[in-house]
Amino acid sequence: MPSTQTPPIAGLAIDPPSLRPPIDDAVIERVEPAGLHARLEELAAGGFTMLLDLGAVDYPQREPRYDVVYHLLKLPATAATVAEAGTPVRMRVLCGVPGERPQLPSATGIWKSADWAEREIYDLFGIVFEGHPDLRRIQMPGDWEGHPLRKDYPLRGPAREKAPRPPFALKSNVQAGTPPTGRTLEALQEQIARVREEGASP
């Protein structure tokens, strides 16, 4: 069951995941937060017994700001042949989460492996998983403030954000404020427009 592209969120100016090249190793599906838990339960009951990975992405200029991504695996319950056992079905469930008070239902009741992954997402993105048995930080020290993988978290930390860099770290040929990739917002939007044009004319 090859899928085409990551389903876009309707009516968005920028939705980076929908601009990626087609991925055909998994079925990709976008779910609303309200229907997420029911859908995951349905999938688990339908044979997706394994939650491979659970991650989040921050798109600061988009609303919903975050995407939480569930990577699921379905193995044949009783594989008749080696080939059958070797062709699992993969599934990716995306769920947009709003930037204000980001919250999702926990999947720990469905897959135990969601436990630490949800703690990690809570730690680094600040997305709260309702119903998680033990929602504490897992990577950063327990008394840490802020969520470092959010794009608006300063790289050197809030305390040292304004501290001058040592002279050897300054690149005089790069204008202050230029992102390391050199890609500005304008450049990104141009690229998006270009991709859309190419997509429209087959």
Binding site: M140, P141, W144, P148, Y153, P154, L155, R156, G157, A169
Partner: protein, 159 residues
Amino acid sequence: MEMSPGHFLLARLDDVARWAQSTSVWPLTMGLACCAIEMMTVTSPEYDIARLGSEVFRSSPRQADLMIVSGRVAQKMAPVVKRLYDQMADPKWVISMGACASSGGIFDNYAIVQGVDTIIPVDVYVPGCPPSPDGLLYAVNLIQQQIREGGRGGILARS
């Protein structure tokens, strides 16, 4: 010098103790990052830190004399490193191995301590990313020299 029964040597106890200390500097088994790979190499036959009497990596800080901070220290690891240092019995020495341990190195970010000397006193800094095993051997040599001479602190091991 020929020694036979009836002959004896006179020495100051201090000198004998320092000689013994300097030839049995036991490091703590503590690898933090990729520098730890080079630290392990130092124990291999090719570099053979046993020649200096430092091949016995102790797994307990109570038995170790030397802490080799081999790699970047994460903010979350910092209290652990500090506690291990505090648990080591005096006298004790610290080698800051590599750019990350000495200054944060390429990791100029929120997660990494910008130089382990902000949390514990460092005796010898070894530059490099990672330093060659020779560099670490030289640092242990400098530690030995320090022990014999009774001084300490802030030496840059540049080979």
